[in-house]
């Protein structure tokens, strides 16, 4: 049993690398898109606010699995052919973007109005207000939940195995298909996911404690 699993380790490591790669891409893309849309939600004109609100509420209102299938099977149907890897990244990015929008809204919303007004009073432009006054303060409230939310990207990435992408989850299933050692391999997989995500949530908790001196 152990020799079979040891034999499969390099294959599992490849899957794990893919899991990390998908998660990294999703985290980076969603951070960019989410911050832009979040600023649109807080400061944008009313129609933009509505658009972002509808986007975020819809995405957060459906299971990630449905979103993944919708993107994966739906895009080719309307004539857009993406490789399954990128369809998966796109779907997970949409899901994660909606989360980032909410983290940003919460973080920016927690900064007292007076800060904005004071910045306006000393003649800062909108961009300067964001860059020098709002974002540096909001950052400390944004970071802990955001890091904790990265675990959702890693966990969500396990669903891409359903699209035939050989991530860690799929690699485990394939090795089980060959060795019939279901339980040891599932436990091994669970421990790998646990190690990554637990490290992330510990980092989040530590940052939260470190930033907890900020009170209104």
């Amino acid at each position: 049993m152990l020799t079979q699993i040891a034999y499969a380790l390099p294959f599992l490591a490849q899957g794990f690398a893919l899991t990390l790669w998908v998660s990294l891409l999703v985290v980076v893309f969603s951070l960019i898109a989410g911050v832009i849309m979040g600023v649109g939600l807080v400061y944008g004109p009313i129609p933009l606010q509505w658009a972002v609100r509808i986007f975020s509420d819809t995405i957060r209102g459906i299971p990630i699995l449905v979103l993944i299938f919708f993107v994966y099977y739906g895009l080719p149907a309307v004539g857009l052919h993406l490789p399954s890897f990128w369809a998966a990244v796109l779907a997970l990015t949409l899901f994660k973007t909606a989360q980032v929008v909410e983290y940003l809204r919460g973080a920016v919303g927690s900064i007292p109005r007076g800060q904005s007004e004071a910045a306006m009073a000393i003649g800062l432009t909108f961009r300067q207000r964001l860059a020098y006054v709002i974002f540096p303060q909001a950052f400390r409230r944004f970071l802990p939940p955001w890091i904790n939310g990265v675990t959702d990207a890693v966990k969500g990435s396990a669903l891409v195995s359903l699209l035939g992408i050989t991530d860690l989850m799929q690699a485990i299933n394939q090795v089980i298909g060959r060795t019939y050692e279901a339980m040891p391999l599932y436990i091994l997989g669970a421990l790998i996911y646990f190690a990554v995500n637990y490290a992330l949530s510990l980092a989040s908790r530590r940052l939260e404690r470190r930033f907890s001196f900020i009170r209104e």
Binding site: P63, F69, G79, K155, A158, A182
Partner: protein
């Protein structure tokens, strides 16, 4: 491009989606009910327990929360029967998984609620001569529930959405119904639009109902 929407085939097979939605709700309700029991018992135990018990409960909570649900579903359905002599249907296996899963999330919610109950209330309970059981049932739990209701609502709705993972072990719930129509009629965009709407509407009805409960209990401050 140039995809013409045609919902006829979706309506013809709508029973798959409607039956799927009902099964999703059933899975969610049963699992959440069991999860509430697990969560309450472990949370109450946790706050009064010693170090060892606390570590064990924390290990359960952290393990479940940091592993993808799909892996847990596979583990319980395909893995467990290879080492223990049990046999269960896919829906039962999923209920077992989601109950353990929701239990872990609910322990966290209840535990933070219990810790947020003001000390003064417990002292007051002691002062008027309530027994420890009475203090728990009549002071601690009601106050804790009121504090945790908003977080509970979110957890319930998110657990309802998690039932979609049951489709990976062929439990014919809503997402499975969507895939069935996807593969058999190829009205792909239509079926996912309809299913998105069904998840959204159900989620919002749940949210609305839970908000009503919250408002009902908030008044009693």
């Amino acid at each position: 491009m140039g995809y013409a929407l045609n919902f006829n085939l979706i309506w013809r097979h709508f029973d798959k989606l409607w039956g799927g939605l009902l099964l999703s709700l059933e899975l969610a309700v049963i699992s959440i009910a069991i999860g509430i029991v697990i969560g309450l018992v472990l949370a109450v135990w946790y706050v009064s327990a010693g170090r060892i018990v606390r570590t064990i409960i924390a290990a359960y909570v952290e393990f479940i929360r940091n592993v993808p649900l799909i892996l847990l579903v596979y583990l319980v359905f395909y893995g467990l029967p290879t080492v223990v002599d049990i046999a269960y249907s896919a829906p039962t296996s999923f209920v077992v998984t989601l109950s353990l899963y929701s239990g872990a999330y609910l322990v966290e919610v209840f535990r933070s609620g219990l810790e947020a109950v003001p000390r003064g209330q417990l002292d007051a309970g002691k002062a008027i001569g309530l027994t420890p059981w009475q203090r728990l049932l009549n002071v601690r739990l009601p106050t804790m529930l009121r504090i945790t209701l908003p977080a509970l609502s979110n957890t319930f709705i998110s657990l309802f959405k998690d039932t979609s993972v049951a489709s990976v072990i062929s439990v014919p719930e809503l997402t499975y119904g969507a895939q069935w129509i996807n593969f058999n009629t190829f009205r792909i965009v239509e079926v996912y639009l309809v299913v998105t709407a069904m998840y959204l509407v159900t989620g919002y009805i749940m949210l609305f109902a839970l908000r009503l409960v919250e408002r009902r209990f908030r008044a009693a401050r």
